[in-house]
Assembly symmetry: C2
Amino acid sequence: MSFNDEAITIHYGLCAAMSQCFSIFDILENPEHDSFFQSFAVRKIAEHGIVCDAGTTENSIFIVLSGELRVYLSCEGREFTLFTLEPEAVFTTHAKMSVVATKPSEILVTSLRNFENALKTIPGLSVAIIGSMGRGLGSAVRIIEGLVFRDVKQRLIYFLLDLANERGCKVHGGVSITMDYKIEEIATLIGSSRQSTSLILNELIKSGYILRVSRKQLVIRDLRRLKRLTESEELSDWEEEVCPIPLVGAAGRRN
Amino acid sequence: MSFNDEAITIHYGLCAAMSQCFSIFDILENPEHDSFFQSFAVRKIAEHGIVCDAGTTENSIFIVLSGELRVYLSCEGREFTLFTLEPEAVFTTHAKMSVVATKPSEILVTSLRNFENALKTIPGLSVAIIGSMGRGLGSAVRIIEGLVFRDVKQRLIYFLLDLANERGCKVHGGVSITMDYKIEEIATLIGSSRQSTSLILNELIKSGYILRVSRKQLVIRDLRRLKRLTESEELSDWEEEVCPIPLVGAAGRRN
């Protein structure tokens, strides 16, 4: 069973608490570990450069030193963004996932075996990693929650509300948000197509929930009213519904 | 941004390699750690007993000693099973997730603070945990892949094929599988409703892909033919599709 065959650990609370105390950069910067980290290779990746694709067979581990990378799943030309890696993130290349630099980035790469040795000899390294993994699991569970319990319109609205909460500015007539995302990027984040995402965003604009000031600038008129829209919709009956996910592609193998 | 704000670590390869070497039971059974683990409380949970529900505010950590527990998300009466916890799994209670015993179980519970102390003082404990977390992340990513790239029919077929691969018996006329799952349990595993799951299973039976021998016994006539069904469907166009997930419920908050 793919969904539930494996015993699993989730450590949200633990990680939230611990990530305050340990940073992988503290460990990297400690001169005691210099000799060890010298065996890591620094790799510079240009914007849009691929670190690994879904077919990779090499298991290496990298630490992000600078920049930003996107981890995504792909299937028959469609993509779904799982996470963004920022400085301090530790990541293992894996056959299912592709990693691309969204900004010029620098990573520190080593083999799996090398990293296992580091885990045994450097106290604090595994604690930093548990923190990072916990945040990853938290993200993954939130993604699953969104995919299972919300439709595309609801996911888009939550995306916009999150943006507003994170970086919105109060302006006359609402909360202004700068859209650093292209429509296709939003689509890969909410698990939809470019067309559907664009259609729903335009509906929200037409019906007055959102004002498009410029290509990159939106104003949410009333956060609460937009939020209510996710609650007051006439919802289709879960029990009656036959196809929560469209027939979008079939050839992807489970394992 | 809920989907990508956090730096994340995924350690499949690392964990697969390391979980061979370390077991949390080895650590529990080491007399050196007796004094520490005495501060953990043993808790027995009857079948169907709740360990924690989605509203829990207490952050504790438990190790599964025996039995089986189900971790699930819920929203307005609907459930989605994330993982099954088996002996050796380590899990932190968390506000978003509910845990229920599917078999009579025994767990070892402690506070977050207590566990953090254990991590600092017991070598090997964090390595065992990284292994367990990595398997959890692997499961979560497979769930996301299924939800994003497959429809309910495809997910049900993969579920049946996985069952056949895991525990199927070759019989005259196909591969026999024992269904220990009720339809509603399968529905919570594939992210669908009981009705839809039942409808699709009945379609597969009517069209001869599957033979129902008894309530608990199915025979898949031809694994390859069933697998091909996930590939040869006339797929709706991803680009045209508007609503990959139905309007199934709205009130669940993202955070």
